[in-house]
């Protein structure tokens, strides 16, 4: 959380995270180049081409990591430490992909009779062919999207675009992934010099990412169904309040609304399940020092008002709660963001 904008609000975890991130990239490139120079077939490969390949393969590996973190964190809270600084992985992914693209453009398209950028799009004119398709254009498309995502990854853009628009914009990571998959399949995996291994490895990566997203969606659906959601007018039966763990929440999803009902200190309060930051699932967080704490980045809200503690100014919607026959009911009509609602006392 921040009351003012800073390029990066560093803390110990972010430093360790970024150190591990940079070390991981260095490990990938070192192993790749080392193995490439040791293999009989590729031992004579130009070091420039080996580096271009290593940077491209590293970027492709990284986008799988970026896409896997979200569903993994939904499946188990043990993965939340990976989610905390995911934006730095995204920016690093862009920088690695940019290095790959820039180096390949200079090496393969520079020093000729055409402008390198023009050459990128016209030197292979076979846009009508599958197996000879100019795969470079797909890489350019992926890189353009990654640039858009990396350049808007800061909270400045998040606040100015609104979390919903920002979130929708950052869903473009999926088209970027699709473009990268096709860039690999129609490039390194294609034609003379291409290896079937790249096809299988790409298919395996796609299956992994798809499987994790499907598993996370199934688990989420199962959680939603676990709540009875019987309606009494605008009031929704969210099940026995006794089953809600202390300082934790039950999430009620109905229509486009998702509500987190928290139990704490003998009371119940309900607020929107969507964090004002990146729409993280507040209901999967817990109360720390009396404040609802988002599991994604630790943004906090008073459960009775939906407001972040001063000096922060973020607010989320609040909902009325009542207890009847041991069940907790929540009113589906949201109050304006930051509207205080007296907690409902248990017993």
């Amino acid at each position: 959380m921040a009351a003012t904008y800073k390029p990066v609000i560093w803390n110990r975890h972010k430093r360790i995270y970024d150190l591990a991130l940079v070390s991981g990239i260095a490990l990938y490139l070192t192993v790749f180049v080392g193995v490439g120079m040791a293999m009989p077939d590729s031992a004579n490969t130009s070091i420039e081409i080996l580096l271009i390949s290593a940077l491209g393969a590293c970027a492709f590996f990284m986008i799988h990591v970026v896409l896997a973190i979200g569903p993994l964190a939904r499946l188990s809270t043990k993965f939340l430490p990976l989610l905390y600084n995911r934006r730095h992985v995204g920016v690093a992914l862009f920088l690695v992909a940019l290095s790959h693209g820039a180096y390949a453009t200079i090496w393969y398209h520079g020093f000729g009779v055409l402008n390198p950028i023009v050459s990128l799009f016209v030197s292979n004119p076979r846009y009508d062919a599958i197996n000879a398709f100019p795969f470079e254009s797909l890489g350019v498309a992926a890189l353009a999207i990654l640039f858009l995502l990396a350049s808007t990854s800061h909270d400045f853009w998040l606040n100015n675009l609104s979390p919903a628009v920002w979130k929708t914009l950052h869903m473009l990571i999926y088209p970027a992934y699709g473009a990268m998959v096709m860039h690999v399949l129609l490039g390194a995996a294609s034609g003379h010099g291409g290896s079937p291994l790249y096809v299988w490895a790409t298919a395996g990566g796609f299956a992994l990412i798809s499987g994790l997203h499907i598993a996370a969606a199934l688990v989420q659906t199962s959680r939603d169904r676990a709540v009875t959601k019987q309606k009494d007018g605008d009031w929704i039966d969210a099940g026995p309040f006794a089953d809600i763990p202390e300082k934790r929440a039950r999430i009620v999803a109905i229509g486009g609304t998702s509500i987190a009902i928290f139990r704490y200190d003998g009371k119940l309060s309900a607020i929107s399940n969507f964090c004002a930051h990146q729409m993280g699932p507040l209901g999967e967080g817990c109360l720390i020092d009396g404040l609802v704490t988002c599991p994604w980045h630790g943004w906090q809200y008073d459960p009775a008002t939906g407001r972040s503690p001063a000096p922060y100014t973020e607010k989320v919607e609040t909902f009325a709660v009542r207890i009847k026959d041991g069940h907790v009911f929540v009113n589906a009509i949201p109050n304006a963001k930051g509207t205080p609602v007296a907690p409902t006392m248990i017993g």
Partner: protein, 248 residues
């Protein structure tokens, strides 16, 4: 009853819960293993780079200039003639650098040697090609090998011989096209079948191939018909461009 056992909850700006420390360490080790495995696997299947060679330092050559079908230099080494294809630095042929120096002139050049198989090429290190006073080096005898229909790939001589390693295949298609567009002599690399691995491509009458006639076919699997000739260490494939067909 409420379940009071709380899972360890991670908040980025708070001290990490003790039990989660080991989970995070395990994840880091697992990720490092995955990184090393993926890098090893992908690097192990890099395409064959060939056995091309590109000298690090330039050497001075004196010999007889040949302007057609492509700029070449004949030098005498230990009483035998050796022919080098000439190109400029960057992705351009040597024509502009050679200017008006006539065919058959003796010249002195400073160049980086590029070679693969029995074919050698010289990449001019500078634009100052000087006319020298030296005896003419005689051209090798032309031997007609005979008509042939070959399947393979059109490559640019500079990259395939050793400047790019590998300098063929789909990944290199755009670069090869750019090189040939810039005047680098095209070559034909055999894929399957028996015979010499690589040929200098010319038209049936022995003139240089117009780049525009083959740009769309470079680096694709193709079939070509023509006459194969041998001159010294170089094989020439004098082709009928109407026979050029893509194999897909």
């Amino acid at each position: 009853m409420a379940k009071n056992k709380q899972p360890e909850f991670y908040v980025g700006y708070l001290p990490i819960p003790p039990a989660l420390k080991w989970t995070v360490r395990g994840l880091v080790v697992l990720l490092a293993g995955l990184i090393a495995f993926d890098a090893w696997l992908v690097a192990s299947f890099q395409p064959d780079a060939g056995d091309g060679y590109w000298a690090d330092t330039p050497t001075q050559y004196t010999g007889t200039l040949n302007r057609a079908p492509y700029p070449m230099l004949r030098v005498s080494e230990n009483g035998t003639t050796r022919t080098f294809i000439l190109i400029s630095d960057e992705k351009r042929g040597a024509e502009a650098v050679l200017g008006n120096i006539p065919d058959g002139a003796s010249v002195k050049i400073n160049a980086y040697e590029v070679k693969r198989a029995a074919v050698s090429l010289l990449q001019l290190a500078a634009t100052d090609v000087t006319v020298a006073s030296a005896p003419t080096v005689a051209a090798e005898t032309v031997e007609i090998v005979g008509p042939a229909e070959l399947t393979g790939e059109i490559v640019d001589s500079k990259c395939w011989l050793g400047v790019m390693r590998p300098g063929d295949g789909h990944i290199h298609k755009a670069c090869a096209t750019l090189c040939i567009r810039g005047g680098i002599p095209p070559m034909f690399v055999l894929r399957g079948g028996e015979g010499p691995q690589v040929y200098v491509l010319t038209l049936a009458d022995g003139r240089a191939i117009p780049p525009a006639a083959i740009l769309d076919y470079i680096a694709d699997p193709v079939r070509l018909s023509g006459i194969v000739e041998k001159q010294g260490a170089l094989f020439y494939f004098k082709v009928d461009l109407s026979s050029l067909a893509r194999l897909e």
